[in-house]
């Protein structure tokens, strides 16, 4: 092999390696969101709110064990879900991502909530159940979609990848497949949104919402939004292990709105301390609250410790620490 041939090949390899290394660094620096990156590829850019829950992490946490003990008194909702869809939420689902898509009257689009679940699904059973209710099999972008459309239902279900299920209104499911195929813009193209996702995605569960109050497009009730200063973005995350470590962040429209929001929250916290300060459970939780404001960003973090959980769930038999022996 001649020297000039070698030079060309090494130069080509160098360019390729440099590009891959740059991409790898970019990927590694946002590795926290990597667990949901594949699911996020299905979320259209028009989404107003995205929420994710690491169901497996949640189910395996000591925090969940406490609530499982509480289920002795609560109805078994998961059994009903299993009967309707064949999905056992606690064993079959690893993670759930929910996206609320935009209402666009100009395109005669209704609001849609898209559910993206990763786990182990019995596709034949789920399809069979939907077909028994009048569902039709359709093909879209090479994927099988079971649609259920009548006067009372507008639902579609697609197994987009092995172990990945899309469920929601037909338009939302098709939009999700469009976004994945690159035929329409995905949420990954929204830098502000993705920056917030990277900020919160370390949590066991997280949510990012765009609050476009100017057009009334918000995932929250207007009555609540009217009570708050103008907010553009809201993000929340919770890390769940033996307790709950919560983090809330709001991006206000301007610095003045951020200060107003901080004042509103401080007022609520003062009221809460006044009301529940005597109760040790609430006091420990309120003591852990940290409120910070930086520019247009207002953050609030709090911890719910296992001890506070014990005190907050007095009705659960066996959850509280044993009572001290009474004096005779």
């Amino acid at each position: 092999m001649k020297t000039r041939t070698r030079v060309v090949l090494f130069a080509a390899a160098g360019v390729l390696i440099a590009s891959l290394a740059t991409g790898l660094v970019a990927w590694a620096t946002r590795v926290s969101a990597a667990g949901t990156a594949e699911e996020l590829a299905y979320v259209p850019a028009s989404a107003l709110m995205v929420a994710y829950a690491d169901v497996r992490g949640l189910m395996n946490s000591p925090f969940h064990d406490r609530f499982r003990q509480l289920q002795h008194t609560s109805p078994a909702g998961s059994d009903d879900l299993e009967a309707r869809t064949g999905i056992r939420f606690d064993t079959d689902v690893d993670g759930v991502l929910v996206a609320s898509t935009v209402v666009d009257p100009s395109l005669q689009r209704t609001d849609g909530t898209l559910l993206i679940a990763r786990g182990r699904f019995d596709a034949a059973r789920i399809e069979g159940l939907m077909r028994s209710r009048g569902g039709q099999i359709d093909q879209y972008r090479g994927k099988r979609i079971v649609t259920l459309a009548n006067t009372t239902n507008d639902a579609a279900l697609a197994f987009a990848e092995p172990g990945l299920l899309l469920f929601g209104p037909q338009a939302s499911v098709r939009d999700a497949l469009d976004a994945k195929a690159g035929a329409s813009a995905g949420i990954g193209s929204n830098r502000e949104f993705m920056a917030l996702v990277n900020d919160v995605s370390e949590g066991t569960a997280w949510s990012v919402a765009r609050l476009d109050t100017a057009t009334g497009r918000t995932p929250f009730p207007p009555a609540l939004m009217n009570q708050l200063p103008p907010i553009n973005w809201f993000a929340a995350s919770g890390r769940i292990d033996t307790g709950l470590h919560g983090h809330l962040r709001a991006e206000a429209r301007d610095v003045q709105s951020a200060e107003s929001l901080r004042d509103v929250i401080q007022g609520f916290l003062a009221l809460a301390r006044l009301q529940g300060g005597r109760d040790p459970a609430y006091r420990s939780m309120l003591d852990s609250v940290a409120l910070t404001a930086n520019g247009t960003s207002v953050s609030l973090s709090f911890d719910v410790t296992p001890a506070a959980l014990d005190l907050l769930t007095p009705s659960a038999p066996g959850l509280r620490s044993p009572a001290p022996p009474q004096r005779q």
């Binding site: 092999m1 001649k2 000039r4 041939t5 060309v8 090949l9 080509a12 390899a13 360019v15 390729l16 590009s19 891959l20 740059t22 991409g23 790898l24 970019a26 990927w27 590694a28 620096t29 946002r30 590795v31 969101a33 990597a34 990156a37 594949e38 996020l40 590829a41 850019a45 972008r141 090479g142 994927k143 195929a181 690159g182 035929a183 329409s184 813009a185 995905g186 990954g188 193209s189 830098r191 993705m194 920056a195």
Partner: protein, 247 residues
Amino acid sequence: MTASLVGSTRRIFDLALGQMLWARRAALLALAAGAPILLALVTRLTLSSGTAVVQINGRHIESEAVFSTAITLLYLRFIVPAVGVFYGTSLIADEVEEKTITYLFTRPIPRGAIVLGKYLAYVLCATSVVLPSAAVVFMVMVPFQDMGPLFGSFVRNLGVLALGLGAYGAVFLWAGALFRRPLVGGLLFVFGWEQLTAILPGYVGRLTITHYLQADTTSVAVLLGITIAALWLAAWTIERREYLLER
């Protein structure tokens, strides 16, 4: 006495690689690699300056979406088939045309080594130009903070491009071993048949290579199957065929 297949393949590979990289046809390869980079630079500068926006069906398209469109329309639909047909058909057909195949056939090497050596040289030559070109387009089009979510699909796209180059090259290498002037037929196949089937309903699309390169229907097994089958057929053809050289 016939030399071993591996040793002979390596010798043919060394010979063919130098010829390929410095032949006049390499200008096509340079154009194939350079044009998308130039296009990407212009698009990125235009988009970032805000002087123009790309819209599809009324939706604003960011530079990342332009990158995936470039991979689909520019590389998979045009550059990969074009490089495959121009280089693949020339591997054997040019030796016949220039009456130099006799020199290869008179060497004490298995004829299959000619096919393998030339094919491997083509794969290295084509991938070392097309893949860096796609990588540079990625770097130009996608801002660093957005590379993370797209890195997986970028690597996947590089793999698909390499598989596409391999499959097209093998098929047209076989065509070059089989027909005297395979270029016209090859061009008709990639820019006629393959484009036509994209708009035809039903399963006709499965009779193309491009079908297995698309994001929805990528099949590594089928592409590798096509490549291996075409290489075997090319080797089988060249072993048995008697090439009559025109005076």
